[in-house]
Amino acid sequence: MILEVRDITKRFGGLQALSDVSFDLSAGEILGLIGPNGAGKTTLFNVINGVFPPDHGKVVFRGEDITRLPPYEVARRGLARAYQVVRPLSDLSVQENVMVGACFGRERYSLAEASRVADEVLVQVGLADKAKLLAGSLNVAEKKRLELARALGSQPYLLLLDEVLAGLNPSEIASMLDTILQIRESGITILMIEHVMQAVMTVSDRVLVLDYGELIAQGLPQEVVNDPLVIEAYLGDPQLTKRLLEGQLR
């Protein structure tokens, strides 16, 4: 197991953001994390990579307990993250953005090595011709790719992708999915939050479903979509939904 999450609980004041979330992720897998808005998906990422400490429970990464480590220690152990809301380092060039990941990530490259790694990664995500531009001048789809490139620059073992497809048009989604599959081919394990259901169902090996901070289902994509609990979480009462779909309600 590359990642073991055990009984993670996190509460913000009166809001139970996560309750007793446990799952495993084996090396080389793509695991999809889905759930309605506000289900706690991003909070789970924040707990895994050390942005928030959990109230209890633990996170084990490659056999080491990383539960209360600060985010930079987690990053240095080979766990990288791409944000849902893009956070480019706007006044640095695209190449320098990726170099930050490479210099301070798992391999802790020197500047010269980092610039070489950055060039390779930028080719991989299709931003090679933008390397010298300021990150702030990219469009949304390019910024999403930059998020990915920055995470890849650190040569991680595990990549957390938070809605990298959101806001992209269908052709951009298709090419991003190709990139994600290539990343997996290169041996990197992926945990991805995604709302674009069709996309997550095609690339994921397994899917987890969070609702109100609880893990309500996990399994193969086609099992999960037919699970009544999951349908209820997304659409409300499954009986009602069924009747609605069958046209029995007016």
């Binding site: 240095r76 380092l89 640095l92 301070f104």
Partner: protein, 322 residues
């Protein structure tokens, strides 16, 4: 070192070296005094730029390190009868240490809160020194003129002070350049752009910020010691002048924050302008108001400063305008 192969640094250092040599050869006390002030501000602005320009933390009270380091160095020279060189070095190290310790607390604050805290630190340091006996309390310390005898008389001592401030200004510029071109500097700039994202990418932000803060306090401590040594006395209201802090900030913003050349150009042009305003009968009591207006205009219209603007406008000059 890749950084040393670019023309920018060598140009700046050459210009500063030539400047110092010219002053030395012309042997003109007025020119020496003006150059002392200019070079002092080049050093102060360049070192504050490491924190403000690279790391993105705006310190309004940075002059506190000039004051505290200067006080410490001056105390060693006047009371403990140390030689100037180790005393200045200790002044710098003391400034850096205070910054590192303060940093543990104030660097947890961000944006306006950090800026406010630094003003508070400066005022607190002034109040403390005002009541601190070993440093002479409110009346401060003064140097027995016989001390200058050790350096060949007071005339020689003034030249020595100039020479030292000249070397320190060059050292600050070189340090600023090397930091900017280093891995450490890349981490600082990542913090400036988005501290949380930088940490998620593996930048040890708390440690990097503390180092940047300490480094930016080191040179002011040395410069403070030299400055007060030259003046022959030190007093609290002279050592912790908040407006000096703010003027340093205006220099950086004017020249271009986050660039190596910016603080140099900013310090030179602002000081020249200030010199003109101070002697002009019309503006002499208004110079601070005018620097306030200048700061406002820069932030509104040329937030990147002169050098930043030139870099955007003429990308080909980027090798020279670092």
């Amino acid at each position: 070192m890749r950084a040393l192969k670019q023309p920018g640094l060598w140009l700046y250092v050459a210009a500063l070296v030539v400047w110092g040599l010219v002053v030395w050869f012309l042997d003109d006390p007025t020119l020496r005094e003006t150059s002392f002030t200019l070079l002092m501000y080049v050093g102060l602005a360049s070192s504050l730029n490491i924190l403000l320009g690279y790391t993105g933390y705006v310190s309004f009270g940075h002059i506190v390190f000039f004051g505290l380091g200067g006080y410490m160095g001056f105390y060693l020279v006047s009371v403990q009868e140390w030689s100037l060189y180790p005393a200045a070095l200790v002044g710098g190290v003391f400034g850096a240490l205070v910054a590192a310790l303060l940093g543990l607390a104030v660097l947890r604050l961000r944006g306006a809160y950090f800026a406010l805290a630094t003003i508070g630190v400066n005022e607190a340091a002034r109040a403390f020194v005002n009541n601190f006996r070993p440093f002479g309390g409110a009346t401060g310390l003064s140097l027995d003129y016989s001390v200058y005898g050790l350096y060949g008389g007071s005339m020689k001592a003034l030249w020595l002070a100039f020479g030292l401030v000249w070397l320190i200004a060059i050292a600050t510029v070189v340090t600023s350049y090397l930091v900017k071109q280093s891995r450490f500097g890349l981490g600082l700039m990542a913090i400036r752009e988005d501290e949380d994202a930088a940490m998620v990418m593996g930048v040890k932000a708390p440690r990097a910020k503390t180092w940047a803060f300490a480094l930016s306090a080191f040179f002011p401590g040395i410069i403070g010691t030299i400055y007060f040594f030259k003046n022959g006395n030190v007093e609290p209201h002279d050592a912790f002048r908040l407006h000096m802090s703010i003027e340093t900030l205006v220099m950086i913003m004017l020249g271009g924050q986050g660039t190596v050349l910016g603080p140099i150009l900013g310090a030179l042009s602002y000081e020249r302008l200030r010199g003109y305003l101070l002697v002009s009968p019309l503006f002499k009591s208004l110079h601070l108001a005018l620097s306030g207006v200048a700061l406002l205009l820069i932030i509104l219209f040329v937030p990147a400063g002169v050098v930043g603007w030139l870099r955007q406008r003429f990308p080909k000059l980027r090798g020279i305008l670092e």
